[in-house]
């Protein structure tokens, strides 16, 4: 068992690395998409809508296949690492966009009017009044999305990334160490996700909109 530990550890680092890069891409994409929708920017808004619907209604696996196997046919080749991070980022962006948008929309319009009536500019109202409330409202969805995305990394082996699933499958196939490998697989995914889950619930509890003042 000990001899496989380094293999799993390497695989976990790869999973973590690509997973979190994917999460970062998804946050950036999601924020851009949410603002475009919130401010109803013409044309871009329709494009974003199509993007969100396409990526929310298809599995990551086919998105990755498309990036990794199909795009090279039209001259766009990317390494499995880039495909993994980009695919996860694109999928996540469509989920994050919805989380951020509904957070923004949950803040009543009159809250920003009240800020404006105090002489704030639109930008100040957004920064000091709308965003803080929107962020705390979208926190539960945000955390759930991060967990969802890190779980989705488990399909990376399909585009030949040597991630945890790949390693486990490989070792099962080669040495029939099924039980050991499955235990490792579970343990390493717990190492990846349990901290996120715990930190997430703590942040959620502290930031929850309703609990200002508790």
């Amino acid at each position: 068992m000990q001899e496989y530990l380094p293999l799993f550890a390497d695989a976990m680092l790869l999973t973590l690395f690509i997973g979190w890069i994917g999460v970062i891409i998804s946050v950036v994409l999601g924020l851009i998409a949410a603002f475009i929708q919130y401010f109803k920017i013409p044309v871009l808004r329709q494009i974003i809508k199509v993007y969100i619907e396409l990526f929310r209604n298809t599995p990551l696996l086919i998105q990755l296949f498309f990036l990794y196997f199909a795009l090279p046919k039209i001259g766009l080749s990317m390494s499995p690492q880039v495909c993994g991070a980009l695919g996860l980022g694109l999928l996540g962006g469509s989920y994050m966009a919805e989380a951020f948008r509904s957070g923004l929309e949950s803040v009543d319009k009159i809250q920003s009017e009240s800020a404006l009536s105090l002489g704030m500019t639109k930008f100040q109202a957004l920064r000091y009044i709308i965003l803080p409330q929107a962020i705390s409202t979208s926190m539960p969805a945000f955390v759930a999305n991060i967990i969802f995305l890190l779980k989705e990394t488990s399909v990376f082996s399909a585009i030949s990334l040597m991630d945890l699933m790949f390693t486990a499958k490989d070792l099962i196939g080669l040495y029939y160490k099924t039980a050991e490998c499955l235990v490792m697989l579970v343990v390493f995914y717990l190492i990846i996700l349990l901290p996120v889950s715990i930190v997430g619930s703590i942040i959620e509890r502290r930031l929850r909109y309703a609990s200002f003042g508790d």
């Binding site: 619907e53 396409l54 929310r56 209604n57 298809t58 599995p59 990551l60 696996l61 086919i62 998105q63 296949f65 498309f66 196997f69 199909a70 795009l71 090279p72 046919k73 039209i74 967990i147 779980k151 989705e152 990394t153 488990s154 399909v155 082996s157 399909a158 699933m165 486990a168 499958k169 099962i172 099924t178 039980a179 499955l182 697989l185 579970v186 995914y189 717990l190 996700l193 349990l194 996120v196 889950s197």
Partner: protein, 225 residues
């Protein structure tokens, strides 16, 4: 068309095979969804009990489902049962077991959420009108719970369809696996098959899921007040 490799689709019965693969995907999803909804309702109602043991157990169950990738569960069930119990579990059966295990937790949480979201006043005002407990549930509580629940459970269907794509990784021949086979078999005549075929599969998934998402969104909006 040739350059994009869609031509491979129209060779022989390829397109029909692809649709057949999609059929497998939808069938596995549907079976898992039905089990999940039935078991999830039971689980959800159980979770509304204030028994501490029930609380801890269901918390653990929900947390496992929340943080373990379905892919890992699929591996554990598919490879693990063979190893531990010597069962020769088919990949399809493993898939239904895992997705039901996952779906039941999701559905149960939705049911619990929908039941506990009904404000106490609704019960009280119904009792104040002289309704019995049974009448209160039948006329007031259950209809409101369903209105919250139905759009969310419809969404579970699309998530199930998307998640079913994982089963190709344990060897079930569904739409993705079929598409790989078609691309492989037509590699000489349609070297760009990967582009056309995967684009079509992408769209097939979209066509399967999007209308369901729209329906869920529509119902949610319609029933939100």
């Amino acid at each position: 068309m040739q350059a994009l490799g869609i031509d491979a689709l129209f060779r022989g019965s390829n397109f029909l095979r692809l649709l057949g693969g999609l059929g497998v995907t939808l069938e596995l999803s549907l079976i898992s969804v039905i089990f999940s909804i039935l078991l999830g309702i039971i689980f959800g109602v159980i979770m509304t009990f204030k028994n501490p043991v029930v609380k801890v157990l269901s918390r653990i169950y929900l947390e496992i489902v929340r943080i373990m990738p379905q892919m890992v569960l699929l591996f554990v069930v598919f490879f693990g049962t063979t190893r531990l119990f010597g069962w020769n579990l088919s990949a399809e059966a493993a898939c239904v077991i895992v997705f039901t295990f996952w779906g039941t937790a999701e559905m149960g949480d939705l049911v619990r959420g929908a039941v506990t979201a009904i404000p106490k006043h609704q019960y009280e005002s119904s009792y104040a009108l002289g309704m019995s407990k049974a009448q209160t549930y039948y006329h007031i509580i259950v209809p409101q719970t369903l209105r919250r629940l139905i759009p969310l459970s419809i969404n579970l269907v699309t998530r199930m369809i998307k998640t079913t794509s994982l089963v190709m990784m344990i060897g079930v021949v569904e739409v993705l696996k079929v598409s790989q086979q078609i691309i492989e078999a037509n590699r000489m005549t349609s070297p760009n098959g990967a582009f056309g075929i995967y684009a079509v599969v992408f769209l097939l998934y979209f066509i399967a899921c999007w209308p369901i998402s729209l329906l869920a969104g529509h119902l949610e909006k319609k029933w939100s007040n």
